[in-house]
């Protein structure tokens, strides 16, 4: 959600935010959450869990918009999202900028 | 606890065994029947379909016997006293979920009005060929209780007993009638409700989260049940399980689970046992019979006694668990056991096993379709007395 200019009502808009929690030992590495996250918040780990699976890591925590899709599509009850503080869109831009650097 | 008067048709009736069985079930507290029509058992389901609307019962005619027995097992977990009724071919189909009911330890009653088999056999004629199926019909090791009535009056009385035993031991009870008893019309006296003793289901009273569906104490005892839909969140399965009902797939769990199923019946065999004996103490020959055959055997025994033979009778009302200890007591005192049955030798095998060669065992077989000629039994008694 990068803007070419700041909308006039930007200060009034609040974006929901989710805190992502991952029980890595339940994960069987299906990749569903990484594939279907609409904000590309997650990536698969390089490390293995105790069962020998890669599990998701949070790549861009601040970008989660609490849509819960990862929680819903996870076949293992391994990832879930709790509602976090809403925020103003600027934060996104900061994150984008930070990534690029 | 006494019977609920609403289900007790007190009075003198002239009805057949099937109808008496239905009345016994209702008096005994049964309020759920799932069945599928099959000769010669249909009259039981028909009478219950007619009577249930007046006593608050739930009747459903299922699509087959597999479904009937499954529905009974499911209904029993809601706390209701449930039963099904069938005959030979349907009995075979019920074996699958009879095993489930056994494994889940649900109290219920399965009425089998026996006819001639195998397969479609003799739909309208009698037989006693399902007795070993009653013992071994479903796969795996287990013990159940089987009752054999020999008159319409007993069809009433013993159906109540069957429900009481099912509740006491959390086990399916097989009510092994036969076509002759089922279709024989006689006087049936139904007593007042306060003369009928009912064993109600034992429900768990403690904290919900502490409830365990099963108790494997090794002493033949069974734990209390709950009603589904009341927040206990139980899990029960046909898989080998632990006391929580959770599947555990290993040899130790199997040993604990299956031994419990067997122990709760065998350790209580003498409490469960209902047998009727006459003049066995000084007998040379004991005639062991059950169901309709016991009434034919009586004529042979009377004739033998008229000839001066010392003959006793033992009628198995509970055929399973088999009264092994009682046969052990008698086997050294008598010359022979005579076993007439309407099959080519089933319960006789169990008698032989218990006698262990210490007396003669003489089978009087009959392939089915009719009852014995009493003279055949008399001849066997005479042979045994030699």
């Amino acid at each position: 959600m990068a803007y070419w200019r700041a909308p006039l009502d930007l200060k009034k808009v609040e974006v929901p935010h989710g805190d992502i929690h991952i029980n890595i030992e339940h994960c069987k590495g299906c990749n569903f959450c990484v594939e279907y996250c609409p904000r590309e918040v997650l990536e698969m780990s390089v490390e293995f869990n105790r069962k020998g699976y890669h599990y998701p890591n949070v790549l861009k925590e601040g970008a989660c918009v609490n849509c819960n899709l990862c929680e819903m599509i996870c076949p293992e009850f391994s990832i879930f999202v709790l509602e976090g503080k809403t925020r103003h869109p600027e934060a996104d831009e900061v994150i984008k900028g930070k990534e690029k650097s | 606890m006494k019977a609920d008067p609403i289900g007790v048709a007190t009075g003198n009736h002239y009805i057949d065994g099937d109808h008496a069985c239905a009345e016994g079930a209702i008096a005994g507290g049964c309020r759920f029947l799932a069945g599928y029509p099959i000769t010669p058992s249909t009259e039981v389901a028909e009478r219950m379909a007619e009577r249930f609307p007046f006593v608050g019962g739930q009747f459903i005619q299922m699509e087959d016997e597999l479904a009937s027995m499954a529905a009974v097992a499911g209904a029993a977990w809601t706390g209701v006293k449930a039963m099904t009724v069938t005959s030979g071919p349907g009995f075979s189909l019920m074996m699958e979920n009879l095993g489930l009911a056994t494994m889940m330890e649900v109290p219920c009653v399965l009425v089998n009005v026996q006819r001639g088999g195998p397969s479609t056999g003799l739909p309208t004629l009698t037989g006693q060929g399902d007795m070993m199926q009653a013992r071994w019909g479903s796969h795996g090791d287990y013990e159940l209780i089987s009752l054999c009535p020999n008159s319409p009056q007993e069809c009433f009385d013993l159906t109540i007993t069957a429900f009481n035993l099912a509740e006491t031991y959390r086990v399916p009870v097989l009510f092994m009638m036969d076509e002759c008893v089922g279709h024989m019309t006689e006087k049936v006296v139904i007593p007042e409700a306060d003369e009928i003793e009912i064993i109600p289901r034992k429900f768990y009273q403690g904290k919900k989260e502490d409830y365990r569906p099963y108790q494997f104490k090794g002493d033949g005892s069974v734990g209390p049940m709950i009603k589904a839909g009341e927040g206990y969140n139980i899990h029960v399965t046909g898989l080998t399980h632990d006391e929580r009902g959770y599947p555990v797939i290993n040899a130790e769990a199997q040993d604990k689970n299956v031994r419990h199923l067997v122990d709760k019946i065998l350790l209580n065999e003498e409490k469960i046992r209902i047998i009727e004996e006459d003049q066995v103490e000084d007998a040379d020959v004991v005639v062991i019979s059950y169901g309709i055959t016991s009434r034919v055997a009586l004529k042979a025994v009377q004739d033998a006694r008229a000839k001066g033979l010392k003959v006793g009778t033992m009628r198995l009302i509970t055929v399973w668990p088999f009264p092994e200890k009682r046969i052990h007591e008698l086997r050294d005192k008598v010359k022979a056991f005579v076993v007439p049955e309407i099959n080519l030798g089933q319960i006789v095998l169990e008698v032989e096993r218990c006698v262990s060669g210490k007396a003669k065992t003489i089978l009087v077989p009959h392939a089915g379709g009719w009852v014995h000629d009493p003279n055949d039994i008399l001849n066997a008694i005479e042979e045994g007395a030699k």
Binding site: N31 | A70, A71, T78, K227, T237
Partner: protein
Amino acid sequence: MSKTAEQILSDELLIPQPKEPLAHPMEGYLRTDRLPHIWCSTCGIGTVITAFIAGLQKSGLERDKVGVVSGIGCSGRAAGYLQLDSFHSTHGRAIAFATGVALGNPDMKVAVISGDGDIAAIGGNHFIHAARRNMNLAIICINNFNYAMTGGQAGPTTPESANASTAPYGAYEYPFNLPFLAESSGAVYVARWTSLHVRRVTNAIAEALVKPGFSFIEVIAPCPTLYARRNRLGSGLDLMRFYHDNAVIDHNADTRDIDIEYQKKIVVGKFVDKEKPTFLENKDAVLSAKLGDKYIPYKGA
């Protein structure tokens, strides 16, 4: 106390902070002492269970009044993970067993979660008859196109030409079109989704749970270990991508036309949602009319 630079940064930029381990929001509905479950990596059954819990929460039903019955097979293990009154019955008999529970306690809503083989092959007769009676049951049939628990044999829904361990040269039987079978047997609610459509499945389950009568939801789900591997379709994730590209939502589709062909488009949607008295409503109506005050309805044990 003034904030450190790092605190300010983390507040502003939402940098991950170490968190206390928290309980999964669905934990109260799960037998967590049995997790992780037995299903393979990328299997779709777990997703359907998540959707079931979400649907149950959404339905507003009192949780203690909801029971689950499963049959045998991979999907048959569903009952074992749900912290509800849950029954793991015999192969094919889940609907018959559930009929007993639903009639034994008419205040309960009983859901059946089981597989295509369990419900449509060995349990096919119970399925059509429970639908015919409009028994108050919600059936969730997880269709993975094969018998997975026993090693990938062909089943009643295996598409023609698909490979299975008992169809090693390709299946040549006609498969069932389950929504059509359900509708023609009398179901009042019929839907088909894939396990990719988690929100649709959740909504369907919520609707089915509150709908009086016989509801049927088919959920197409990936079987990575057997169906996908034997047919060289990749992982469960590849099948999810296939659903994404080939599932066509058409709520108005005629169920006669929605057969599933091997690796062709899958028509999904809510096809039937109608009102019809249930088995018990009909029973009460007929017996009350005939017997009047003498009729005593069954009220449960």
